[in-house]
């Protein structure tokens, strides 16, 4: 049965039920009539699970109307997709468009004197709040970024772009709570990650290398030629030297991978090449600056190649070398395949994606096309093989429920993800958040998922509006089995396991779920919210 026909059937159900006493049984006996998907729809569902933050109620039909391939091509070219609704909702977040200089000025840390007075008790918390209102504190910057991330995850039509922004931010992770980074984050995501998310990997790599967020986070801004003596400022006279932090992570995490065939000597040489890449006025407008006085002008030898470009070009040459390296192609390919296919990336597919990297010079779209067309991606046992990470779970639950989410609600969703273990922009290590099942599946986190499902379905999340009535297509709540069928169709698209269906059917027999009206005569009132929470907390819904 095609989807439009199913819709008609759903719409007609109440009428049929009204007029036909036997209808209850016949409907209960044929849940597949509502839930079943044609083979094409199963493929569409799988693609949606992997390429978006989970299907919304109408998404399968929309993709079917366009055709999967055409829909994917549109997702690969997000500029052509109208996204005014979500853009509109983002305008309530003033920090998103601000420069680093503006953010430093408008959302400053309390000055030393204020901090001292507050710490010594000379200033009360109330006075502190008055002089330094909460919505003008630096924490606001991060809260707005978290809000924007979830608004887009739930509401953007450019779903693949949002998935890739998350992917690349995580790949080139920086941590909100390290020093100045929180004032740089907004620009980093907006000007570095987002424009290149579906662009060319070498461009993305170069953009991250020069941004104050990365320079600060991995300490390169402090790295100077060995033996350099600080000329000015509070550390005047101190001998400083190389900081290898960026050099090491650049190779281990950004390009070659830990087994990419580099040595400690390569780390030191790369660190020498990047000396002088620093931040000008880090507490004001924080711009990239090459400072020749701290650069090591000697020759460097990286991965067997001599680099003698001299000055700022040394770092550029290292980036070119790393971006073109076969180990980088394999490492990036492996990570993409792990995101889109399975935790255990099929080696043959990784090789094909790496080959595409080599022939296209790291064109991210080309790599994704290879993945989306791959039999490994479409294979039946790939469906549901990935465990949703917390932000994916939270966003997919809101999308599946057809929730209306405003800015407050988006922040509530971000907090929900943090409660389950994934604080957005709050991954401290340079590895970012993990993308493997075992990192996310543990008792505390699973319980937190169930409790999130309950809050969402019960309508207890501020700023997140759910309408369970719409969700079940106006099914008669006096018909618990019908309600359940609609719910499983809407939230799991008929992919509920036998066990889940049996458990939920058994729940229907409980008086708490099928509440009778007070006079005990009227129609039973099925607790749709509770059933929906159980479905969102089920094993099936944790997978994508």
């Amino acid at each position: 049965m095609s989807r439009p026909a199913a819709r008609v059937a759903i719409a007609l159900l109440p009428l049929v039920l009204l007029g036909c006493a036997g209808a209850r049984e016949s409907v209960a006996a044929s849940p597949p009539a509502i839930a079943a998907l044609i083979p094409d729809d199963i493929a569409i569902l799988h693609v949606l699970q992997r390429v978006t933050y989970g299907p919304r109620p109408d998404d399968i039909a929309r993709v079917r109307a366009l055709g999967v391939s055409a829909w994917l091509e549109r997702q690969l070219d997000p500029a052509r997709i109208d996204d005014t609704t979500v853009e509109q909702s983002l305008t309530t977040l003033p920090t998103l468009a601000m420069s680093i200089a503006d953010l430093q000025r408008e959302y400053p840390r309390p000055d030393a004197e204020t901090q001292r007075k507050f710490a010594s008790g000379a200033m009360s918390p109330r006075e502190m709040r008055e002089q330094y209102p909460i919505d003008k504190r630096p924490a606001r910057i991060v809260a707005e970024l978290q809000t924007a991330r979830m608004l887009r995850a739930v509401g953007s039509e450019r779903q693949l772009q949002e998935v890739m922004v998350d992917f690349w931010f995580n790949h080139f992770n920086v941590f909100a709570n390290k020093g100045e980074v929180r004032w740089y984050l907004t620009a980093y995501e907006r000007d570095v990650i987002r424009p290149h998310a579906l662009g060319r990997f070498p461009d993305l790599l170069r953009a991250t290398a020069r941004h104050p967020a990365m320079l600060f986070y991995l300490d390169n801004w402090l790295s100077v030629r060995p033996g350099y003596t600080v000329q000015r400022g509070p550390n005047q006279g101190r001998r400083a030297g190389l900081n290898e932090n960026y050099a090491r992570e650049l190779m281990e995490l950004h390009t070659l991978g830990v087994d990419g065939g580099y040595s400690q000597s390569d780390v030191t040489e790369v660190a020498r090449a990047f000396t002088g890449w620093t931040i000008e006025r880090p507490r004001q407008d924080a711009r990239f600056l090459f400072r020749p006085g701290t650069h090591d002008f000697g020759d460097k030898r990286v991965l067997g190649r001599v680099i003698r470009a001299g000055g700022e070009r040394d770092g550029e040459e290292v980036l070119d070398l790393l971006a073109a390296h076969p180990a980088t192609a394999r490492f990036i390919a492996g990570k993409l395949v792990r995101r889109f296919v399975s935790d255990e990336a099929p080696p043959a597919l990784v090789e094909r994606v790496a080959a595409a990297y080599a022939t296209t010079g790291g064109d991210i779209r080309a790599l994704l096309r290879v993945i989306f067309a791959a039999p490994e991606f479409r294979a039946p046992d790939t469906a549901g093989a990935k465990i949703k990470k917390p932000s994916e779970f939270v966003a997919s639950a809101a999308r599946a429920m057809g929730a209306a989410v405003d800015a407050r609600g988006a922040l509530a969703l971000a907090r929900g993800a943090a409660e389950i273990g994934e604080g957005l922009y709050e991954a401290a290590p340079p590895t970012g958040h993990p993308d493997r099942a075992e990192a996310w599946v543990n008792p505390g986190a699973l319980l937190a998922r169930m409790n999130f499902a309950l809050s969402l379905a019960d309508g207890r999340l501020p700023g997140v509006r759910v309408d369970v009535g719409t969700l079940v297509g106006g099914a008669d709540r006096g018909q618990p089995n019908v309600v359940l069928d609609h719910l499983l169709a809407a939230l799991l698209h008929g992919r509920a396991s036998e066990q889940t269906r049996a458990v939920l059917t058994a729940q229907l027999g409980l008086p708490e779920i099928t509440r009778l009206t007070a006079d005990d005569r009227g129609p039973a009132n099925t607790d749709v919210a509770k059933l929906a929470a159980l479905v969102l907390g089920s094993p099936e819904f944790q997978r994508r």
Binding site: A112, Q115, R116, K117, A119, S120, G121, F175, K178, D219, P234, N245, R248, E249, E252, V258, E344, I387, A418, E419, G421, G423, A428, P429, P430, A437, E438, V441, N442, P443, G444, A445, L446, L447, A448, M450, N451, L454, D458, R460, S497, Q499, T500, V503, L504, A506, Q507, L510, E512, I513, D527, K530, A533, L534, G537, S538, P539, Q542, R543
Partner: protein, 414 residues
């Protein structure tokens, strides 16, 4: 055959499906006394605590010379605003005075110059290294307490063998053995406004027997833990012996760890952290920012020890911080990132009432890089000695890969 859930996982989903899930919880012994094992509690002071303010070296003239506005006064008997003398050279910060009885009863030992061989002054790198236990190596996937958990006998493991108080599992507890992270015991349940018991049963059946994979296994473990916690009544245990925990996250964490210990749910390793130590500006002295944090810290530790009563015989608590702070105060009456700091060890089997490790001295030429207290005890020496003794993990366990002890044992535990 014993194996952990996570080790199973690594063998792949197919292999997993073919195996029988180990009846780990069923193996739990009914006799609570037998379930009692020794317990290690680790407390991380995140942000780099000024060890020189925890244990004040009042015998060092350099200390007073370097800190004109934030040095703590020399001890004067009977004056509660001064430091509390320990041995004529070191004294406790007045805000840590509740720890004096523990020093006197030899329950508290102090390692005054402990830290990492790595010279980083980045909080995040140094915390990472202190948790992974591999200074200078970022690629270590697990944490040293996680590795310690992996070396404990699996047969009697309960879901509460390794527990961190907090939303996320900290790096220090990561590892194949698995660990539980929870924010609060009384919130560790299915939370809903209506029919919580029925809702819990619903979720539980969704993860019931029948399917053997990571999700279902974890689901069963989750409800096992929820039920175990409830039936042990852990969240209902009120502090014993008149223990009075300070308000706030740290006191709450310790109070709940004590509840888990007293409820006999199989706890062996617990972790809590406490922040607010990064005192670059307006550090204060007898009063002020740092004094407030230390008051909370000392009161929490003292309440924990009191609460445990006789159970303290089974427990060792270890405090740590990623590095210390500069000897000299800076231009903002605070201190900047330094090197060595002070670590405490408390417990029934601790040979307390004394300091361990060489004191490097504070004279400028004795300092690390001319500015910081030097490290005389590698943190791995301390952590390794305590962990192997307290948890009886086999000596062959690579708690700290790539490291061999640089000292004879300190002899901290009796």
């Amino acid at each position: 055959m014993t194996f952990t859930r996570r080790a199973l996982l690594k063998s792949g989903a197919c292999a997993l499906a073919a195996m029988t899930m180990p009846p780990r919880f069923l193996a739990r012994v009914a006799d609570a006394a037998e379930a009692r094992g020794t317990i290690l509690v680790a407390v991380f002071q995140r942000g780099a605590v000024d060890g020189l303010s925890m244990i004040v070296p009042h015998g060092e003239a350099s200390y007073y010379a370097a800190r004109p506005s934030i040095a703590l006064p020399r001890p004067r008997r009977g004056d509660a605003t001064t430091t509390v003398d320990l041995d004529g050279f070191f004294a406790l910060h007045p805000a840590l005075a509740p720890l004096l009885p523990l020093w006197e009863s030899k329950t508290l030992a102090i390692v005054p110059a402990c830290g990492s061989p790595d010279i980083t002054r980045s909080h995040f790198d140094a915390q990472d290294y202190m948790e992974s236990g591999t200074p200078g190596v970022k690629s270590t996937p697990d944490g040293w307490l996680g590795r310690a958990a992996g070396a404990l006998p699996a047969a009697r493991a309960t879901p509460f063998r390794s527990v961190a108080l907090g939303a996320q599992l900290p790096r220090i507890l990561r590892g194949d053995a698995g660990a539980l992270a929870l924010r609060s015991l009384d919130r560790f349940e299915v939370r809903t406004t209506s029919q919580p018991a029925m809702t819990q049963r619903g979720f539980e059946s969704l993860y019931g027997e029948g399917v053997r994979d990571l999700l279902h296994g974890t689901g069963r473990e989750t409800f096992e833990a929820v039920r175990m916690l409830k039936s042990a009544g852990a969240a209902r245990l009120t502090p014993a012996n008149g223990a009075d925990y300070p308000r706030g996250r740290f006191g709450e964490s310790l109070r709940q760890i004590a509840q888990l210990i007293r409820a006999d749910v199989g706890l062996r390793i617990a972790f809590a952290d406490v922040d607010g130590w990064d005192t670059h500006v307006g550090q204060g002295a007898e009063q002020g920012q740092l004094a407030n944090r230390l008051r909370d810290f000392g009161a929490g530790l003292a309440a924990f020890i009191r609460d445990l009563g006789d159970r303290l015989a089974d427990v060792v608590l270890l405090t740590m911080s990623e590095f210390g702070r500069t000897v000299a105060e800076n231009g903002n009456r605070g201190t900047d990132h330094g090197h060595a700091t002070t670590m405490f060890v408390l417990g029934g089997s601790v040979r307390g009432g004394r300091l361990y490790g060489r004191w490097p001295g504070l004279a400028p030429e004795q300092r690390f890089e001319s500015r910081d207290l030097a490290v005389s005890t590698d943190f791995r020496d301390l952590f390794s000695e305590i962990t192997t003794r307290q948890l009886a993990v086999p000596a062959s366990t690579a708690l700290f890969p790539g490291w061999t002890p640089t000292h004879a044992p300190l002899g901290l535990l009796g």
